[in-house]
C-alpha cells in the first residue's frame, strides 16, 4: 500500500507536467486529461482509505520513505510521506472536492482559450496540496505550502490581461510569503532545538524543551497559518483573490488551501498543547477573524467577496477550535470538512449565477433568479442552510460543537470566546440571508454589461450542476453522518487526541442560544433586504458599513504604511546608492583626477623652471647624502 501514497501526489503532478509541457496540441483534450488525473488520485485516496479502515485504529499510520532529499551533516531532509487519519481526511476532501471542481470547470471554462493551462494549474495545485498534508516533516510540508501558494498565484492571476487580477495574484503571494517566513523560521528553531524537523522526533521530544521555545515555535507556526488561512492580520489578500476564476475560489480559496493553516495547527498539536500562550494566541486570532470576516461579509455587494468574507470568518471558527487544544481539534477538522462541502457548493453556485448573468458579480444587479436557475437555487439554498447552522444540516453539527468547546475552556477566556463565537453565528445568518435574498429573491435589477448585452439568465449545463448537486448533498448530510455514534471523533482521536471539557453551560442551552441568534440574524436580514426593495445602487451607509466595504480599512493601512512607505524607502535607497555609496567611489576617482590636474600645472613647458626643479632635486639629494653620512 505504501507506494500508493507517492502515487497519490504523483498522479496530479504528472497531469500538470503533461498539460504544461504538452503545449497547444493538447488544447482540445487537456481538460479531460486534467480531470482524469484528479480522478485517479481520488480513486487512490479511496483505496487507501479502505485500507486504513481495515486496520485497527492504532495501526492506521502508513509511512513511505521515498528518498533522501538534502543531507548535510546533522541536517537530514527526506522526501517521506505519512498517511494517518488526519491526512486521510484531507486527502479525501482535496481529491473529492477537487475532482468535482475539475469537472465543473470543464463547463465553466469552456470558452477560455487557455483552458488547458487552467487544468494544468489545477492539477499542480492538487499535487502541492496533497504534498502538504502527506509530508512527514516540516520542510517537505513547506514545499507543499509554497507550492499551493504558487498554484494560487497562477490561478488568481489566470486572467493576466486584467491588471486587477495580476495585482491580486501578486498581493496574495506576497502576503503569503510573510506567513511563509514564519514557517521557515519555525523550522529553523525546530532544527536548533531538536536537531530535526520531522514530525515524529519533534513531537516525541516536546517534553524535553522549555516552554518559551515551544511558544516561539507555536507563534511562528501561527504566523504561517495566518498567512495561508487569511487570518487577521494577514487576511487582506483573500478578498482580492476573488479575481480568479470562480472554480478556483471554490477549490483553493474556500475548500482546501485556505484551511491549510488549520491543518498546520492541528498537526502541530503536540507543540501547541505544551505552549498555552501560543494556544491562546491562536484562539484570539481565530475569534478576531471570525468577527472581522463576518462584518466584511455583511457589507460587500460583490457576491464572491461576500462569500470570501464568510470563508475568512468560518476559518476563524476553525482556528478558534484548534486553539482550544485537544477539546477542539476534532471539531476544527470536522468544521473544515463540512465547510469544504457547503462553501465549495456556494461558490460553484455563485459561479453558476455569474455564468448565466454575463459574469456580473454585483448582487445589486441580481434578484429574482430562483425561477430562472432552479437547480442553482436549490443547491445554493441547501449550502446556505448548512452554513448558517440550520438544525440537522452539516454546519449545525460542527459549528455548535465549536461554540460548546469555546465555552468549555472556562473562566473569562471561555466566556469571551464562546460569546464571540455565538455572536458570529448570528452575523453569519445575517449576511448569508442577505446574499440569498439579494440574489434569488426580490425584483429583477438586471443591467446590461459593459458591452451592452442584456443578461439572459439560464440554468448552467449538466456538467456544472451535477458537481453542485453532489456538494449540496454533502452539505446536507455530511455533518449528520459524521456525528452518528461520534464516528468522526473516533476516527480522528488516535491522531489528535481528545478530551471532553466541562462546559459551564449545558449543551441544550447552547443549542437554544445558537438558534435564537440564528433567527435574529435571519430576521434582521429579512427586515432589510426581504421586505424592502434592494436599491440597485448601494446607499452611502453608516461609517461601519463604509469601512467594511473597504475591508475595515486594512488595505488603506497597508497602502499608506507598507506600499507608500516602501516606495519612499526604495526610492531614497536608490538615490543613496547612487550618491553616497557610488558617490564615495566616484568621489575618490574625481579626487585623484583633481590632484593630477594640479600636479600637471608644474609641467609648464618653461625650460628654466625644469632646471630649477632639477637643481632643487640635486640639492636635496646632496643634502640627504651628507645628512645620512653624518648618522
Amino acid at each position: 500500500m505504501d507506494p500508493l501514497i507517492g502515487a497519490l501526489v504523483g498522479a496530479p503532478l504528472l497531469g500538470a507536467g503533461i498539460l504544461l509541457v504538452g503545449g497547444r496540441r493538447l488544447d482540445r483534450t487537456g481538460h479531460w486529461i486534467g480531470c482524469l488525473w484528479a480522478a485517479v488520485s481520488f480513486v487512490i485516496g479511496v483505496v487507501l482509505f479502505a485500507d486504513l479502515l481495515s486496520r485497527s485504529p492504532a495501526q492506521r499510520t502508513l509511512t513511505s520513505h521515498l528518498f533522501t532529499w538534502v543531507p548535510v551533516a546533522g541536517f537530514q531532509a527526506d522526501v517521506g510521506f505519512q498517511l494517518d487519519q488526519l491526512s486521510m481526511t484531507f486527502v479525501l476532501l482535496i481529491t473529492g472536492v477537487g475532482t468535482l471542481i475539475h469537472i465543473y470547470s470543464v463547463g465553466y471554462m469552456e470558452h477560455d482559450e487557455n483552458r488547458r493551462k487552467f487544468f494544468g494549474y489545477l492539477n499542480l495545485f492538487l499535487a502541492a496540496m496533497l504534498l502538504l498534508v502527506l509530508a512527514d516533516n516540516y520542510l517537505l510540508l513547506y514545499v507543499g505550502w509554497e507550492g499551493v501558494g504558487l498554484a494560487s498565484y497562477l490561478l488568481i492571476g489566470f486572467w493576466q490581461h486584467k491588471p486587477s487580477a495580476a495585482t491580486a495574484a501578486k498581493k496574495a503571494f506576497l502576503v503569503n510569503r510573510v506567513g511563509d517566513m514564519g514557517l521557515s523560521i519555525a523550522i529553523m528553531v525546530m532544527f536548533t532545538t531538536f536537531g530535526s524537523f520531522a514530525f515524529r522526533p519533534v513531537f516525541a521530544h516536546v517534553g524535553d524543551v522549555s516552554q518559551g521555545r515551544l511558544t516561539t515555535i507555536g507563534l511562528l507556526l501561527l504566523l504561517a497559518a495566518c498567512g495561508k488561512s487569511a487570518q487577521v492580520p494577514l487576511q487582506s489578500w483573500l478578498g482580492d483573490a476573488m479575481e480568479g476564476p470562480t472554480p478556483v475560489s471554490a477549490l483553493i480559496h474556500a475548500a482546501t488551501m485556505v484551511t491549510a493553516g488549520v491543518y498546520l495547527v492541528v498537526r502541530s498539536g503536540a507543540i501547541f498543547n505544551a505552549a498555552p500562550t501560543a494556544q491562546l494566541a491562536v484562539c484570539v486570532v481565530g475569534a478576531v477573524t471570525l468577527v472581522f470576516g463576518a462584518i466584511v461579509g455583511c457589507a460587500k455587494d460583490d457576491i464572491k467577496k461576500a462569500l470570501a468574507g464568510s470563508t475568512m470568518s468560518q476559518i476563524g471558527y476553525m482556528m478558534l477550535a484548534a486553539g482550544l487544544g485537544p477539546i477542539g481539534y476534532v471539531f476544527a477538522i470536522m468544521h473544515l470538512v463540512t465547510h469544504g462541502f457547503f462553501k465549495a457548493g456556494l461558490f460553484l453556485g455563485a459561479g453558476s449565477v455569474m455564468h448565466g448573468m454575463n459574469d456580473e458579480v454585483d448582487m445589486r444587479r441580481f434578484g429574482a433568479l430562483r425561477t430562472y436557475m432552479p437547480v442553482t437555487f436549490v443547491t445554493f439554498g441547501l449550502g446556505y442552510l448548512a452554513i448558517i447552522g440550520f438544525p440537522g444540516l452539516s454546519g449545525y453539527w460542527s459549528k455548535d460543537k465549536i461554540i460548546e468547546a469555546a465555552f468549555a475552556k472556562g473562566g473569562t477566556e471561555g466566556w469571551t470566546l464562546g460569546a464571540v463565537a455565538l455572536v458570529g453565528a448570528g452575523i453569519t445568518a445575517f449576511y448569508m440571508t442577505r446574499v440569498m435574498l439579494m440574489t434569488f429573491f426580490g425584483d429583477k435589477r438586471w443591467q446590461p454589461d459593459a458591452e451592452g448585452h442584456e443578461p439572459h439568465p439560464h440554468e448552467s449545463p449538466k456538467i456544472m450542476t451535477i458537481p453542485m448537486s453532489i456538494l449540496a448533498f454533502g452539505s446536507v448530510f455530511a455533518g449528520g453522518l459524521f456525528s452518528i455514534n461520534s464516528a468522526f471523533l473516533k476516527w480522528l482521536q488516535p491522531v489528535t487526541g481528545h478530551s471532553d471539557g466541562h462546559s459551564p453551560v449545558a449543551t441544550w442551552e447552547i443549542t437554544v442560544a445558537t438558534l435564537v441568534v440564528l433567527i435574529l440574524g435571519v430576521g434582521l436580514a429579512w427586515q432589510s433586504y426581504g421586505r424592502q426593495a434592494v436599491p440597485a445602487v448601494a446607499p452611502r451607509g453608516s461609517l461601519l458599513t463604509r469601512a467594511a466595504r473597504r475591508d475595515l480599512l486594512q488595505d488603506d493601512f497597508n497602502h499608506v504604511v507598507l506600499v507608500r512607505g516602501g516606495e519612499h524607502l526604495t526610492r531614497s535607497l536608490v538615490y543613496l546608492d547612487h550618491t553616497v555609496v557610488d558617490g564615495a567611489v566616484n568621489g575618490t576617482a574625481a579626487g585623484v583626477g583633481g590632484l593630477s590636474g594640479r600636479l600637471r600645472r608644474l609641467q609648464n613647458g618653461f625650460v628654466r623652471s625644469y632646471a630649477v626643479s632639477m637643481l632643487g632635486g640635486t640639492a636635496v639629494l646632496v643634502a640627504a647624502t651628507l645628512l645620512m653620512r653624518g648618522v
Binding site: 543531507p71 551533516a73 537530514q76 490581461h161 532545538t193 531538536f194 536537531g195
Partner: protein
C-alpha cells in the same frame, strides 16, 4: 605520469579561443560553431573530471605539480576538491548556453569592411574567460590563482566595453559613454582589489620565506606546515594578509558596499555577458573566500566574522530593496544578484556545515537560476529594443512561452521550493540561524523582498493589457528554447534531488570547517540526527 586532465580542461577552451579568433572574417558562422564545439568539449572534460573525482577521498584530487618560477617558489599546481569540482562543472555547463544565447549578439551591423570581425572576438573572449576561470578554480598555488584571478579582467573588460546592449534609453552616443564608463568602472574596481591582494600575496611570501627558508605559495604545503607547526603567522600579520585577500574577493563577489560596479557592468553589457559576469566570474570571488581566506587564515577569519556577517546581511536586504526600486530590467537582476551574493557570503562565514554546503550549492543554483532569468530577459530586451520596465506590458498575451520561462526563472530567483535555489537558500539560513539566530531572522526577510521584486517585475512586464510596441512580439525561437529548457530542467533537478551535488560538496566543507576549528552547534535536545532520521524513516 598520469594524464594531466585538469590542465587539458583549461587548455581546451584557451586553444578554442585562439582557433576561433583565427577564423577568417567572412566565415562568421563557422567561428560560432567552432567556439561552441570547444565549449562542449570543455563540458565533456569537466564531466570527466567530475566522474573521476571520488568524494570523500583525498582532499585535493587529480593533482598536477610542476616548478614554474623557482626563484620565488611559484609552482604550477592544480588540484580540485569537492567545491572546485562543482564550480568547474557549473562553468563548463553555463558557457555553451551563454554562447547559444548570444549567437547573434556580436553580428556586425554592416559587413562592408572585410577585416571587421567582432563575432570571432566575442566568442574567442568568452572561451578565454572560461579557460581562466577554470584554471583559477583548479589552482592550488596562491600565486597561480592570483595571476588568473587578475588576468580574467582583461577579456571581461573587452566583453563589457566592446559588445554592449543595443537597448539603452538615450541614443547611441550616450550609450557608448555609459558602456565605457561601466567597463572602466569594472576594471578599476577589480584592479584595486587585485592590487591590495597582490600586496597580501607578497606578504604571504615574505612570511613563508622568512620562516621556512624558501618561500612558497603552495596551498597544500602551507596548510601542512601550519598543521605541524613549522609555519606560524603572528596574529597581526595574519589579519593584515587576510584583509588583503578578503578585500579583493569582496570586490569580485561583490559584497556591500563594494557592489556598485555590478549594476553598471550588468546593465550595459549584453545578457550573455552579464551571465558570464554574475554567474561565472563573480563565483571566483566567493569560491576564493571559502578556499583561501578560511583555509589560510582561520584565526583572522574568525576575528573578522562578525563584521563580514553584518555586511552580508546588509547586502541581502539592501540589494533586495534596491532591486525593488529599479526601472531597468537588467539592473534589477543585478541588484537581486547582490542580495544573493549576500546569502552566499553569509553562508560561508556562518561557519557551519549547513551554511557552507548551502553557500556552495547556492553558487551553483544562483549560476543556473540567474542564467535562466537573465538570458530570457535578454531575449525579451532584444525583441523590444529597450530594457526599461515601463516599455513592457502584456507580453504573456503575445508570447506566452517567453513569459512562462521568464516566470520560472523569476520563481527560481525568489527561491520557490521545488527549484534549486530554495534548497541552498534554506541551508544557508538554517546554517546561519543555528549560530546567529538574529542574523538568520533578518536574512529571512530577504525571501519576502525577493518575492516582491520578482513579482513586481513579472507583473509590470508580462501582465496587463498589451502595450504599444509589444503587439508583434515573437515567441521563443527554437535556439532560444534550447537555451532555456535545459536550464529549467537543471533547476528542477537541483531542487528535487540535490543529493548528488551535496555528496560531492560535503566532504570538502567538512575539511574546511576542521581547518577553521569550528563544529556545528549541537541541538538543544540531543536527538542524534541519524537516529532521528531512521526513526522517521521507519
Amino acid at each position: 605520469m598520469s594524464f594531466p586532465l585538469l590542465t587539458v580542461t583549461a587548455v581546451v577552451p584557451a586553444a578554442g579561443a585562439v582557433v576561433t579568433a583565427a577564423v577568417p572574417a567572412a566565415r562568421r558562422t563557422a567561428a560560432k560553431w567552432t567556439a561552441l564545439a570547444f565549449a562542449l568539449a570543455t563540458l565533456v572534460l569537466a564531466a570527466v573530471v567530475t566522474a573521476r573525482f571520488s568524494p570523500g577521498g583525498a582532499r585535493y584530487q587529480l593533482t598536477e605539480s610542476h616548478a614554474w618560477i623557482t626563484a620565488f617558489g611559484v609552482r604550477y599546481e592544480l588540484g580540485v576538491d569537492g567545491i572546485a569540482v562543482v564550480l568547474v562543472l557549473l562553468t563548463a555547463v553555463l558557457v555553451p548556453f551563454v554562447m547559444l544565447a548570444g549567437w547573434h549578439d556580436a553580428d556586425p551591423l554592416e559587413t562592408s569592411d572585410r577585416r571587421w570581425r567582432p563575432t570571432q572576438g566575442f566568442f574567442a573572449l568568452i572561451l578565454l574567460v572560461e579557460a581562466m576561470v577554470v584554471i583559477a578554480f583548479e589552482s592550488t598555488d596562491v600565486f597561480l590563482f592570483y595571476v588568473f584571478f587578475e588576468a580574467m579582467l582583461i577579456p571581461m573588460y573587452f566583453l563589457i566595453g566592446g559588445f554592449g546592449d543595443q537597448a539603452g534609453a538615450h541614443g547611441e552616443d550616450e550609450q557608448a559613454r555609459q558602456r565605457s564608463y561601466a567597463a572602466v568602472k569594472f576594471l578599476l574596481y577589480n584592479l584595486v582589489g587585485g592590487l591590495v591582494m597582490l600586496a597580501a600575496v607578497i606578504g604571504l611570501y615574505a612570511v613563508t620565506a622568512h620562516q621556512l627558508g624558501a618561500g612558497t605559495f603552495s596551498l597544500p604545503q602551507i596548510l601542512h606546515d601550519r598543521a605541524n607547526g613549522t609555519l606560524t603567522l603572528s596574529t597581526t600579520a595574519e589579519r593584515w594578509i587576510f584583509l588583503g585577500f578578503f578585500f579583493a574577493f569582496a570586490v569580485k563577489a561583490p559584497l556591500w558596499p563594494l557592489h556598485t560596479w555590478l549594476p553598471n557592468a550588468m546593465g550595459e553589457s549584453t545578457a550573455p555577458v552579464a551571465v558570464l559576469i554574475t554567474a561565472v566570474v563573480d563565483k571566483v570571488g566567493t569560491f576564493a573566500m571559502l578556499r583561501y581566506c578560511l583555509q589560510l587564515f582561520p584565526a583572522a577569519s574568525k576575528w573578522a566574522t562578525p563584521v563580514i556577517l553584518v555586511l552580508a546581511v546588509i547586502g541581502i536586504i539592501y540589494g533586495a530593496l534596491l532591486a525593488v526600486g529599479q526601472r531597468d530590467i537588467k539592473r534589477l537582476i543585478a541588484y537581486a544578484s547582490i542580495s544573493h551574493f549576500g546569502f552566499i557570503i553569509l553562508g560561508i562565514f556562518a561557519m557551519t556545515s549547513q551554511g557552507q554546503s548551502g553557500a556552495t550549492l547556492y553558487m551553483v543554483n544562483h549560476g543556473v537560476s540567474t542564467a535562466a532569468l537573465l538570458l530570457v530577459a535578454g531575449f525579451l530586451i532584444s525583441r523590444r529594443g529597450s530594457r526599461r520596465i515601463a516599455d513592457f506590458g502584456g507580453v504573456q498575451k503575445v508570447a506566452p512561452l517567453l513569459a512562462g520561462t521568464f516566470l520560472v526563472g523569476g520563481l527560481a530567483t525568489l527561491s520557490l521550493p521545488g527549484l534549486g535555489p530554495f534548497v541552498s537558500e534554506f541551508l544557508v539560513l538554517v546554517g546561519t540561524f543555528t549560530r546567529y539566530p538574529a542574523l538568520g531572522v533578518i536574512a529571512t526577510l530577504g525571501i519576502v523582498l525577493a518575492a516582491l521584486y520578482v513579482l513586481v517585475l513579472y507583473q509590470r512586464t508580462m501582465t496587463g493589457p498589451v502595450k504599444a510596441g509589444i503587439e508583434g512580439m515573437k515567441d521563443l525561437k527554437v535556439r532560444e528554447l534550447v537555451v532555456v529548457a535545459p536550464l529549467i530542467a537543471l533547476l528542477l533537478f537541483l531542487g528535487v534531488y540535490p543529493k548528488p551535488v551535496t555528496d560531492v560538496i560535503n566532504p570538502a566543507v567538512k575539511d574546511t570547517l576542521s581547518d577553521v576549528h569550528r563544529t556545528d552547534p549541537p541541538p538543544k535536545v540531543t536527538v542524534p540526527a541519524v537516529a532521528a532520521a531512521k526513526e522517521n524513516a521507519k
